[in-house]
């Protein structure tokens, strides 16, 4: 078994940004993503998870290096100033490199 290096981009943001973020994921060529509701506290106050419109989501995407960087760049350019959001990149390893 060979493990291939891959990037994981994690985005935590207000739920209202959802459709915008998933559209961007399509644009940079992600083959899939995973999403769930979270509570959060940050610079723009605390978000309790009761009313969906005021809540947070966490989105996780596995990508190769280049689209991952592209995604981060686009998030900074178009999203960070507009939405309550954080995003970070980490190194992971997968088996089926062609899947991502």
């Amino acid at each position: 078994m060979i493990l291939h290096p891959m990037k994981l981009v994690t985005i935590i943001c207000e739920a209202l940004a959802r459709s915008h973020v998933t559209a961007l994921l399509d644009e940079v060529g992600a083959h899939g993503y995973t999403l769930f509701s979270v509570e959060g506290v940050g610079a723009q106050g605390s978000r309790v998870a009761d009313i969906e419109e005021f809540a947070n989501i966490q989105i996780e995407v596995v990508l190769t290096s280049e689209p991952a960087l592209q995604l981060m760049t686009r998030l900074e350019r178009d999203f960070f100033s507009r939405f309550a959001m954080i995003a970070y990149l980490s190194d992971i390893q997968v088996i089926r490199s062609q899947k991502f």
């Binding site: 207000e14 209202l16 915008h20 509701s37 309790v48 998870a49 009761d50 009313i51 969906e52 419109e53 005021f54 809540a55 507009r82 939405f83």
Partner: protein
């Protein structure tokens, strides 16, 4: 009329619905760990919107469209005009930025379904009849003001050469196919089509438990509103005054128009309540996406922490007393 008013406010404050709302406020302020998880909130919302929509549709079918269209048109006109005068007030008296003014104007022109439902509850507790089809006004007043407000805001923030049609399309989709519109209008259509027979089959669910469910839901809304009380300091005195005086103005206008359109005392009160209420779910969602430069602290605090509690506790009896006075029921 003053003693009447005081008594009416007192009576309203002692209804289960308002008391549960205050309990929610208390729970948040006292830092209790009480909370309603999202699926519960959503479940209650779905129930309340489909129930009120369904009953409204049944009522439209029995009253006939011929009866409903005129007051419904008035409701639309009112919803369209409110942002047009709210904007200059916010902009020039309140000295808020153009985009914030537009955003807040959108919220006050649109409506709060929960406030409307609480108002029907209020009238029922007084055995005051009203046109059940008034739900139609709720349905038609939700979107126009949001569109108007967003256009105002886009005009204010537009850079030369930039088209705002794409944003407007998003806002239109949100305003016309958002969760609450689909549920309310859909259930209304269902009520209209299935009529009395459908009503009888489902009244054990849509009618009998309704007032109790509303009370429980207001417990949650008390918590939601109180969480924003901390932002009251940030928004300034002007907005606090705006959030209570504009509802009084709009409420009176709504009552007068309802009277002119031939509605009963109860129905005119409901139109007043709709005009007086400010949207805190549909409008924020649309505005957040279309006018990201506008500050949510301002519009959400105004709609949710000022106007909503004001209407639930004091506004409802006030608009009703105004209507009674207009209809000549109080000497």
């Amino acid at each position: 009329m003053t003693t009447d008013l005081v008594q009416a406010i007192q009576a309203n404050l002692l209804s289960p619905a308002v008391l549960f709302f205050l309990l929610g406020v208390f729970a948040t302020l006292s830092k209790s760990d009480l909370k309603f998880p999202e699926p519960l909130y959503l479940g209650l919302t779905i129930y309340l919107l489909t129930a009120i929509g369904f009953k409204g549709g049944v009522a439209i079918a029995s009253a006939g469209i011929a009866t409903v269209w005129l007051p419904a048109l008035m409701a639309i006109v009112l919803g369209t005009l409110i942002p047009l005068w709210s904007y200059p007030i916010l902009r020039f008296i309140g000295r808020l930025s153009p985009v914030d003014s537009a955003a807040i104007a959108a919220h006050y022109g649109s409506v709060s379904a929960v406030t409307f439902i609480a108002a029907t509850n209020f009238l029922q507790s007084l055995n005051q009849p009203y046109e059940e089809y008034a739900t139609a006004f709720l349905a038609v007043m939700e979107s126009p003001a949001i569109i108007i407000g967003i256009v105002l805001g886009k005009l204010a923030t537009q850079k030369p050469g930039e088209s705002f049609l794409p944003t407007l399309k998003v806002a239109l989709h949100e305003a016309c196919l958002g969760r609450s519109v689909v549920l309310l209008v859909g259930a209304m259509l269902i009520g209209f089509l299935s009529g009395k027979r459908g009503y009888d089959a489902t009244s054990g669910f849509f009618v009998a438990p309704f007032q109790g469910v509303l009370a429980l839901f207001l417990l949650e809304m008390g918590m939601v509103a109180a969480r924003r009380f901390g932002d009251l300091r940030k928004v300034g005195l002007f907005l606090v005054a705006f959030g209570m005086l504009m509802p009084l103005l709009h409420g009176s206008l709504g009552v007068i128009l309802g009277h002119a359109a031939g509605l009963s005392l109860g129905g005119a009160t409901l139109l007043g309540v709709l005009a007086a209420s400010a949207s805190y779910i549909a409008a924020p969602a649309a505005v957040r996406l279309s006018l990201p430069e506008a500050s949510p602290t301002l519009y959400l605090t105004a709609a949710l922490a000022i106007t909503f509690p004001f209407n639930i506790t004091v506004g409802l009896p006030v608009y009703f007393e105004i209507a009674k006075w207009l209809f000549g029921e109080t000497p």
